[in-house]
Symmetry: D2
Subunit: 365 residues, 4 copies
Amino acid sequence: MAGSTFGTLFKITTWGESHGKAIGVVVDGCPAGLALCEEDIQLYLNRRKPGQSRFTTARSEADQVQILSGVFQGRTTGTPISLLVPNQDQRSRDYGDLAACYRPGHADYTYDQKYGFRDYRGGGRSSGRETIGRVAAGAIACRLLSQLGITLNAYTWSIGAVTCSSYDQDEIFRNPLYMPDADAARRAQELLQGCMSRCDSAGGVIECRAQGLPAGLGDPVFDKLDARLGQAIFSIGAVKGVEIGDGFGAALSCGTANNDDFRVNLKGQVEKCSNHAGGILGGISDGSTLILRAAVKPTPSVAADQPTVTSDGQEKMLSIKGRHDPVIVPRAVVVVEAMTALVLADALLTGMGARMEYLEKIWKK
Amino acid sequence: MAGSTFGTLFKITTWGESHGKAIGVVVDGCPAGLALCEEDIQLYLNRRKPGQSRFTTARSEADQVQILSGVFQGRTTGTPISLLVPNQDQRSRDYGDLAACYRPGHADYTYDQKYGFRDYRGGGRSSGRETIGRVAAGAIACRLLSQLGITLNAYTWSIGAVTCSSYDQDEIFRNPLYMPDADAARRAQELLQGCMSRCDSAGGVIECRAQGLPAGLGDPVFDKLDARLGQAIFSIGAVKGVEIGDGFGAALSCGTANNDDFRVNLKGQVEKCSNHAGGILGGISDGSTLILRAAVKPTPSVAADQPTVTSDGQEKMLSIKGRHDPVIVPRAVVVVEAMTALVLADALLTGMGARMEYLEKIWKK
Amino acid sequence: MAGSTFGTLFKITTWGESHGKAIGVVVDGCPAGLALCEEDIQLYLNRRKPGQSRFTTARSEADQVQILSGVFQGRTTGTPISLLVPNQDQRSRDYGDLAACYRPGHADYTYDQKYGFRDYRGGGRSSGRETIGRVAAGAIACRLLSQLGITLNAYTWSIGAVTCSSYDQDEIFRNPLYMPDADAARRAQELLQGCMSRCDSAGGVIECRAQGLPAGLGDPVFDKLDARLGQAIFSIGAVKGVEIGDGFGAALSCGTANNDDFRVNLKGQVEKCSNHAGGILGGISDGSTLILRAAVKPTPSVAADQPTVTSDGQEKMLSIKGRHDPVIVPRAVVVVEAMTALVLADALLTGMGARMEYLEKIWKK
Amino acid sequence: MAGSTFGTLFKITTWGESHGKAIGVVVDGCPAGLALCEEDIQLYLNRRKPGQSRFTTARSEADQVQILSGVFQGRTTGTPISLLVPNQDQRSRDYGDLAACYRPGHADYTYDQKYGFRDYRGGGRSSGRETIGRVAAGAIACRLLSQLGITLNAYTWSIGAVTCSSYDQDEIFRNPLYMPDADAARRAQELLQGCMSRCDSAGGVIECRAQGLPAGLGDPVFDKLDARLGQAIFSIGAVKGVEIGDGFGAALSCGTANNDDFRVNLKGQVEKCSNHAGGILGGISDGSTLILRAAVKPTPSVAADQPTVTSDGQEKMLSIKGRHDPVIVPRAVVVVEAMTALVLADALLTGMGARMEYLEKIWKK
């Protein structure tokens, strides 16, 4: 079966594996007339690049995106936008252990079980590089949203047990972990140093907020906005939990505390007095800030020795060599933002047919 | 847009609102030759009926399912199975406040914003009765799974702060809360008595396990098994969080502890030494037990006074009269089981095309 | 696999077989606020009823539609509209030959090959009664279209070799064959008398026109408006050919004759000087009349003796008893109209996201 | 809306326009383990190249396909196969008239109406070059089919009024028009010479046959095999009509003649005595040869003067300069074959879940 296509009207299809020739995405269904150039997309890709920190110059040649179709005279044409990022590292090399072994916490074993064999070079399709397509497509979705006054903001909420206790939006891009709390960022960096010295890794939580959303996005039953977000965020490798609003905290609350009362604000508009719901009621956006969180597991590639099994059924010890991020979270922040943007862009498009009066506004002569 | 259809090959479409003539579901794509009768489905529907407890006789006339198509001589024919449950309570009555007010924690406001008006009778399509279609369809999926040796098991893991600390499968159907820990069930019932006396409500957590799954189910990238489960479980009203395996706990763990090592068991098969992953690696089932959890918010309908707003923009206090469950969790247990079964049945069908050798097994003459 | 769901946003799911309890359809994604009652739908169903002619009273109890959900206070709510038509004839009877034999020209053999067995009562799911769901759903689509100034008009263009040579719209509902040419209708009735006397049957061609369509409907490549119509019309049982505009005639023409030149009309609008294209250029509606034709094969149920085979592999002669229409065409006219309407309604909904300016019109505050 | 994705499990997404950087396709859902290299695909692309004839060497550098992902060690991995063909001609040039004018018979006007503007370079996305993606993907589908003993065979059946009257399979690749009748091919070439001398163009009919298909492919109702083929073939630009089996001829036949009787052959298998149905009964393959025909309109780009309108509403005469094929048919033959193969591959994959016994064959331990 397929599995690499996402969205109903704003539809993306990603392709590519870690050590193939390139990685890419086709964005089909983007409305015509959106201003777009490669730099708009590159800005998002730079946020997920390896070796990134805002204090160092980005490696200028790496992960450069090319727009191959769908843009003419600086605007989207309504036809598929094909984006391609060449892979730098396609050298044939000796994968040795990695070709023969099932790395714990990775998809090696399950790919072999599903397909009968696998591309073992750097994880193949299950590599983190697969997210390049998501981020590139998400960058286009973000531009579309921004045109309609909707802004997204994702950041690291916790790393291991270090959790942000304050929120300073400007701080997010000041530290390499994308945390909105400078003190937490400092402590998290210490925690990660400890991990690395123990040949170990850490996990964490990413939070994403969307502001400026109209009420009325999302559909009843299976295509609830939170259901689509649930699929989108869980589809990111390493995500093991997702929450909307108070999430698991809501299970500990009581009805009178968890319900968000309604009031009329000074402009005469209905608004909620609180936002335990995280901006969604009955699967449909309520006009307040959308809030979601994703739990990301620790990097499974660790240098410590781990018991495992070879594909021909022999037990052996494995230690994964080479440079591996001690935490996935910071580089996944922009992926969470991208996936959220893709869900919202699609909900805006599909939601245009909700009322006969909307159809009359567009189609009636 | 639509939103009431779920699944790629094992596809269900639900319909119906709280106070319409009936509630139903169409199950399309169920393989031919599965033995099926109304009683098979009724058993599952009985688990979500109001006023249920295993000590009382089920009200025999309520929520009776009818099979209208797709079954011939006691077996599924491969064509759509239409299931219908008549609504008992269609009396026209005075909805008074509820027609005019936006109930906090409900979808009244968002439906009005999306569609311009709403069926205010008992929540209309956003009512909990909408889950009847899911459970009826899920019952068929469960039968299909069971035919292949796969069994599902959902239960209440916590209510408010009362969490199970032991697991006795037989206990689940012995207490009205479907908890696998008799002591926790007793304490949770006390907690709920307290809620009711305060005109308040509680939330909780549901857990679901699937055993006997083959490795290799689920697809890379957007249709990962956990991504499909994420959509499925988040699409249940009142769910605010979903976890697979260790979930948010994984974010607090470290790589060496969170990775599940592989070993060869006595039968010579590869297996994991632990199951932090909850049975899914890289979005694909690994052959161990699938484990997921859903956080359910407290019942939003509470008798306590709540500030709200009328649809014509006036602030007012609202107290929701009538009998409402002080907790949604126990009746949602079978809904979580049903949605999990639907995802798995679909993954089994779509996964049959993963290898050329599978195609040859079915199609080569 | 499924197969009973059609449409992207205006999505229908039909169910039911000839001799089951009922036949029905779920229409999901119809915009909220469309005035709708059962009579609106019944008018279309009456056009496909057996024994129909405009001179006889319709059998009032037969094929009566019930709206089970999705309509409140006389308007669609935006949630699924479930429509049900009870089957009158569910008597258990002796199907004898028909249970054991593969009727030539029918789906008996292929259903057995696909599913391993079949519901042999009256053709089961492959019965012409399956179109009830299409027509009921199409009636809703027609109302939606009509609200936007779009009108559909289907009729019989030929029966056997008798082809209409004039077009009088009023005549269509004056003769039982729905032909727009009174003289052709008279000759076609004679032809059909001859068929019946020879225990034989006839085929014919149905034409459908849609007027008032905006330019810009349909999508490039696979979801071209003609491609969607192609699927829709070919999905009607007994259809063996479909043409848009000049159809197979275009293959005999030359470019200078087949191209429709453009001009500016008196209102200053661009229009085509002719309409060989049938209202579609490059898969997108051009604002002129949409024209399509469907070739319908002769009724396969004939009383004449036919050689065939039993399901256990014995050759035998079969003569199909009972009353069968000597031609399918007149009752299929409304089915073609319904399927065309469903494609157009869906194209209107999906097309609302074609331009950023449309999104701004609906979503920008 | 999207529109560039086709298929349920064997799913392709095409992208690219005439004068962009490249044209491509992503094939997602191809089973793992199929032997595949670039040459396998190139062979099909060569059949649609401009300037082709079997007497001339193909321009070796043109339309060269690259496999960017999804193949490892010479076999498909089950993950997306990304194919890219660079465009040779991306020079910026003066499009003059063509940028400002609506070419009769082309999609210029409708794209402008849909999207508000268009990429006017060589037709942009509506160019015939869009079919490169289809053919490349179809080549993979053909390999899959061939592995299961299914072979496809498309050819030109008529050009203008010149129709084949004999069928010699070997002849097809002997003449540049891909006609199975040498004499017809000679006369058709004369006809085309005449067209060119009059600055005009011709249309024609393409036929496609598939042999070795198992009975049981295709689904009831909307996903009938003929319905999917209908969408697939009508989605090819310039196709104005599609027939299955006897097609429009069936409308002129009578039931006793049009029905294909069944018999038992010498091997004891059920087979049809004739094949008016073209291999499909009730939307499901019957095991006999699948036969379809597509009517292709004359090339709309003609050098003769044609009245048209500019995008700012001025009438003017247009003559389309440059080299244009006087007939689209021969180069579209392989496109029809490719689209047919894509439908069949998808039907094979989705059909594997038709019976419980198939599921047990794959999944039961």
